[in-house]
Symmetry: D3
Subunit: 339 residues, 6 copies
Amino acid sequence: MRNPRDFFKPLAIDAPEPAREIPFKPSRMIHFMDFSNEKMVAKAPDLAPKVDILLGNLEDAISVDKKEAARAGLIKVGREMDLGDTALWTRVNELASPWVLDDLQELVTQIGDKLEVVMIPKVEGPWDIHYADRLLAQLEARAGLDRPILIHCVLETAQGVANLEEIATSRRMKTTRVGGGHPGYRTIADPDPDDPDAPRPSYQQDPWHYSIARMVDACTSVGALPFYGPYGDISDEEGCETQFRASFLLGCVGAWSLHPGQIAIAKRVYSPDPEEVAFAKKVIEAIPDGRGVHMIDGKMQDDATWKQCKVMVNLAEMLARKDPELAEAYGFEPAGVQV
Amino acid sequence: MRNPRDFFKPLAIDAPEPAREIPFKPSRMIHFMDFSNEKMVAKAPDLAPKVDILLGNLEDAISVDKKEAARAGLIKVGREMDLGDTALWTRVNELASPWVLDDLQELVTQIGDKLEVVMIPKVEGPWDIHYADRLLAQLEARAGLDRPILIHCVLETAQGVANLEEIATSRRMKTTRVGGGHPGYRTIADPDPDDPDAPRPSYQQDPWHYSIARMVDACTSVGALPFYGPYGDISDEEGCETQFRASFLLGCVGAWSLHPGQIAIAKRVYSPDPEEVAFAKKVIEAIPDGRGVHMIDGKMQDDATWKQCKVMVNLAEMLARKDPELAEAYGFEPAGVQV
Amino acid sequence: MRNPRDFFKPLAIDAPEPAREIPFKPSRMIHFMDFSNEKMVAKAPDLAPKVDILLGNLEDAISVDKKEAARAGLIKVGREMDLGDTALWTRVNELASPWVLDDLQELVTQIGDKLEVVMIPKVEGPWDIHYADRLLAQLEARAGLDRPILIHCVLETAQGVANLEEIATSRRMKTTRVGGGHPGYRTIADPDPDDPDAPRPSYQQDPWHYSIARMVDACTSVGALPFYGPYGDISDEEGCETQFRASFLLGCVGAWSLHPGQIAIAKRVYSPDPEEVAFAKKVIEAIPDGRGVHMIDGKMQDDATWKQCKVMVNLAEMLARKDPELAEAYGFEPAGVQV
Amino acid sequence: MRNPRDFFKPLAIDAPEPAREIPFKPSRMIHFMDFSNEKMVAKAPDLAPKVDILLGNLEDAISVDKKEAARAGLIKVGREMDLGDTALWTRVNELASPWVLDDLQELVTQIGDKLEVVMIPKVEGPWDIHYADRLLAQLEARAGLDRPILIHCVLETAQGVANLEEIATSRRMKTTRVGGGHPGYRTIADPDPDDPDAPRPSYQQDPWHYSIARMVDACTSVGALPFYGPYGDISDEEGCETQFRASFLLGCVGAWSLHPGQIAIAKRVYSPDPEEVAFAKKVIEAIPDGRGVHMIDGKMQDDATWKQCKVMVNLAEMLARKDPELAEAYGFEPAGVQV
Amino acid sequence: MRNPRDFFKPLAIDAPEPAREIPFKPSRMIHFMDFSNEKMVAKAPDLAPKVDILLGNLEDAISVDKKEAARAGLIKVGREMDLGDTALWTRVNELASPWVLDDLQELVTQIGDKLEVVMIPKVEGPWDIHYADRLLAQLEARAGLDRPILIHCVLETAQGVANLEEIATSRRMKTTRVGGGHPGYRTIADPDPDDPDAPRPSYQQDPWHYSIARMVDACTSVGALPFYGPYGDISDEEGCETQFRASFLLGCVGAWSLHPGQIAIAKRVYSPDPEEVAFAKKVIEAIPDGRGVHMIDGKMQDDATWKQCKVMVNLAEMLARKDPELAEAYGFEPAGVQV
Amino acid sequence: MRNPRDFFKPLAIDAPEPAREIPFKPSRMIHFMDFSNEKMVAKAPDLAPKVDILLGNLEDAISVDKKEAARAGLIKVGREMDLGDTALWTRVNELASPWVLDDLQELVTQIGDKLEVVMIPKVEGPWDIHYADRLLAQLEARAGLDRPILIHCVLETAQGVANLEEIATSRRMKTTRVGGGHPGYRTIADPDPDDPDAPRPSYQQDPWHYSIARMVDACTSVGALPFYGPYGDISDEEGCETQFRASFLLGCVGAWSLHPGQIAIAKRVYSPDPEEVAFAKKVIEAIPDGRGVHMIDGKMQDDATWKQCKVMVNLAEMLARKDPELAEAYGFEPAGVQV
């Protein structure tokens, strides 16, 4: 068993201290880019203000002969381009592949100060997180970084799901589960006893309910952020919105976006509810110093809820700066004035 | 690791022995009362015969300035009022709050002989149950009680759900999960290939399926009783009944009732099926001494199933005593004759 | 904790080596037979070519006075009848019953060379698998068998489900979960605000979603095969197909069949998709020696996926030999030519 | 995880209830006999009054061609001979061997009512105990026994020691560790700085300290009885007594005896100290009803210590009945008078 | 499983934050006092400068009729007396006893600002620590304390030792193990082959080796402080010193003292070695900012070892302030000058 | 939890398969060399035939400015020198240090085919082993190795010891514990009652008993090889031999040697006993095919013991080839004839 007191100690000499709380920044969509394509590289600065997270993909969908170009393109984006407040992430190749060691070494030592999160695909257990954690620490120390790079793990294997709670308790964690409905997953009504030959209605079910609900509980229980994965059929915006909303209602904070059309959907679905933001502002006003127990609108609020309200208002402010409509909905002054 | 032989030893000198089996008494609804309201206190004896469980709420929904009044009201009910066979429960304030220590000390030492169950909100792990278990043992010994007070834990946090199986294996346990549907949690049908622009049907899903199913399995596996939590929209009786029935079909034995209107619904949904009661009576008649293996209606029955049948018939008799309709459905003589 | 290096060592001197990989043979339906009925015994050779697995049932549905006849009938089938490639399984009585020790001793020593799998009902934890594992090893050694008999465990108790992942990591494992929909498990739409008295649509839900999804993940994570259990209403073929298909989409490889009518349904639902078979063939052709990393249709393939493709093509070949329609769909020569 | 409430349920229908407390009977020596030797069989009734436990050995030291004779001899002793109060135990062959299944089936069905304990050699983990536990339950039910046969496990493998705590928490447990000193296990003093060439004293160490101390703690923590194993050199009575005494001081309750000469040593070493017996009598007198908290000789005594005192005095009475010297030392009337 | 991120969160609203590192203050001896004796109360201020820790004992050795006087005496000491830098601890009654709830409530609310550590006797598992931890948090919040009271657990039961590592990972922990040699625990030499009748030397062994070594490793692995328990024979100073030194060499930082005579022994044995203090000073000088990797006297030193050196020098300074001899040995200016 | 079926799968694509059994080669001493010293490099071929294992040390004792020279020297030895059958090992810098990533990358890609074992210092838990395991797999694949490099972990921290059993169950494992006696760790005899002032004998104890005994049990239980660590005082050969022998009697297979003088001691202490070799030869002759159960010299031998005998005889043959004295003792022909 591991000493909880060691949980927050760096895993390499002179590596930065691990984050004590997972930072909660705008993260309604993780937009996937293939930077082996030079046009994509060129587009990055224009796209950045429109999304919360820009991700340079190195893994699946990048063919073997383009692995190095995709990595080089991402380094170019990290080094040369101004992305504003938008976070830069990457998805590296899987841990058993021949590219991942170079992916991590080159990215951390060359653009480690720009890269906020490394997405690790096909995670199977906490041991995989520890491997990436230790390796990142080594490379952060070598690059002289002063804030740690976070890990976002993708649960694509049954073994990953079976180990979900243990994975979520690992350090640096954010988690994703891929999904998508299927018309054949249905229940059917019993025959009508009065008209047994009548057509029987059947109802489509959500095949990902268990996996997403379990992931959300596991993440939330440790303060990690649960994301919904990709919605593959880019042309089906109604299906995408239904699925994103279902994941939002189960507790996800954002989703992957594979196409500009999905960005708007994610904004619509995952932006915090103005009423919740208003309540959070009320709590902060009522408890200026964040101490003690207070009743607000009939519910007990203490230092823990006060802290959550701070996070919520802070997030809303960040979103408002990017988006005048949200600024208005949340009752903040327009961004221009704030800065 | 803990010694299983110690599982049934009292946790304080002269405390009563823990229950070897969770008693299965009428528990179709846990009716919530706010006894800081004197009218509610006065109403208790009238309401008691209509419900299975009466709960004096001290936690959420009781404002800070009424915490002590609610506690005092409950003590008055416990001391002065005749509730018949109806069980008296309480929901104390959460374990980190400034009131819970006084809640427990005053209630156990003053009405510990009347109080059957203490509901603990926001349980996060087996450590919370152990804390309450040990403290109750101390206070039971001090009050000279001769039967232990049981614990009912409320799973309101993601961490509680992630630790569900461990919590359920704790001593004294009964468990609740709060729920409620949401119209936005849906799946949508694929577009009709012959008419791609036609409206696509979508189907609402049960967002609580995973949490309730997992809770029921965890509880049932250790003989604890799973309850459904509150249905918040008091005016929506059809929605309430749909939700209660869904929870019943997943295995819950009862639900919270927040309003007299929900009591009747709970009775309708959670009363045991007369056919099951009839079968249980048949098994008991066929195996008078409860030993050996017997085939009844083509299924093997042994001492374990015989015991479950005893519990079922016993419960039905208790319900029949309160409710002439059920008495008839179960084929028991009316209550008046029995007593 | 157990030494993983010992995982593959026999549990009795001279017992056969345990299987390093669960063999993946045709297993779309497990057809249940009552061999206490002599007519059933006589029918076995005719039925065998029509099903993937023939199971001699000894447990529930066999009355106490027919337990020995059912065992004797199964031994007769195993000894005297030619079942071709069709696998012979049994479901023994539960581990606490007075028959199971004789069931296992007689079957293994008399038809152990014919019996591929023993189904153990009402499994509660890994300890139950270990018990059967050790006892089978003893009896396999005594019978001089040269391949081990596999275990298929049936999860019928809440405790079994709560211990699911641990059970699945046990040796020799295949797993089943019983199911079946219920018209009362529904969600209901909110009232229409414009027409609050209008009937509100409600949607039936799959009450087994959690249990099956969790079982499939647990099994798949360790290479065990998940099966769907029985669909009880033999006359309702549409309901049966809906349920089988739902289980297939969640990941089950086959189901129980209780009646010849369900055999055709299982074939329809659980036969591998010709497109997947075609893709597997493509992978095998592209990577003749199964080493290194290759991109095929834009996805990385390595030795692990190559191995899975081998299994898939192998299974398709076995099915094609039995079924000319599938042979055609998969693009194999008819069976007569292959042999 | 296992339900602690199930810990005390029988593992087969109609098997006797498991013991809630490990019975503490005279157990200063477990005397090993080879009943394949007819003379040994004949001697059993004479030897019985001289020892606490008589064990019919079936495993190591019994050659392959005598396995069945040793089993038959033990059955003869169990059936035909009067051993008085002396307990009859057996050591069966190891769980992977070809004899153990017959050992258990024949012994339990033929002399199960006489056999108190089955010693299982080379136990490696709790799974081995569960196997024997379940199998014994089956056979006890078949034999119609009304008290369960206990298990004594022998820790002879490194894996057994590594799993010690888990093994001890298993049901029915008693545990043994084999030992024996070695002259080469020593520490040596530093050279004398004033006379560096002087011979340096060296001190022999106890190579079994860790194993025995850990076993004693694990057993005692769950109420199981720790035994010391064999002292192999029968002629070395001084060595044997030193070793037995060391094990007694670490907490063992008895040892194996391989020769009559070791019986007297075990009696000398393991009989309870008269002063402790006297104190136990004092506690029982001072707390007639075993309730509440009392100070006796400056130490707090409660119901738990009262119970231990009862066990101690009870044991002393049993020993006194056999041994007039102990009767006197403990201040009991001689045995003849008591009966 | 518990979220490591929650490890350092207070367990009650407005309770002080838990200590992130166990403070390492002078702790060479924990001197036990019986404050039911008024003379002892009066002596406390004189004794304080002579010891590192003064402990008011409420448990064993305090008879039932003096429990309240001992508690009152301790409160008087805490409230009215000046103990200088010397730490004030208490040993409360055991968790199952009728006094412990009052012990904790009165001590924390009345002298919580003076009390540094509460010693909990007969700890059996991490659940006991959690109970005390949660209760102390409640009472600290009530008393408005601004630093948390630490827990020192005493391992007196076999179950405590079996759970040692889990106990040590609990929050707030310091640990003690009681000991004492025994002349009968020996090994004996083999007979001399040339003179088999010659007396054979035998060597006394340390019966506590396993328990202390395991406790030290478990504590040190999590930064908790391991203490040796009492040496009961007050008159045997040579025996006491041998035992204290053995425990020091295995890694203990201090011991209990039951009599003034043992105080001097503890000082002699447990004061840090001047050479180690000198080395620590050297490391601090060589690495002024505590960052990077340095070789000092041929061994790598980094921020982790630098931190340990800081702790060591800090401790030495505190000891030097009390003790001119140590001040000289460590090369510090006499205390008078420093202040 | 991890799938035991995956235990033997490579952790990187095209990495060699992990060893199914830890190879048991001559390993009586691990001789430490500092190859930053050119003379040591030059001496390697002469020293090789005299030792079982030659280790190029990169960690402690190599100063910061010589880290790269030591690594380069080792690579030179691995590339250019003929070491015969003698194994080449290295001790890399600790996992948090700035050198370890280069150590591993350079050594594996440049002399990976020569390097048999990498010693990892200061291992704290199974996560550290997994990190090294995964990284080595990546590098082995890159270097095109066809046999895996093993890991030898050094337990130097209390946390490592507390996690010992979990570490030992990791793949690729061999384990070491550092030690050394201390004259102050003693027990003392009670005063002589007849002459209380007489000097009391005291006996030095082995302070490492617990750590070594626990390590040996943990390693042996999983087939890993336990080694004793360094004996630091090179001039004290008698002390060294006493310590080595103590470790051998507790079960270690070899020790570190820091100086040529310790090589001869290790040979004397750790060479297998000729009597055991003779017995192993007897078993192999008696069971030519390694199947079934046999009694040899009164003890049951089966396939498992047969396999151990094979390992023993094989080892003896390897040692005999190097050492004519051992060849004679074991009854093998001299090496010259064998080859």
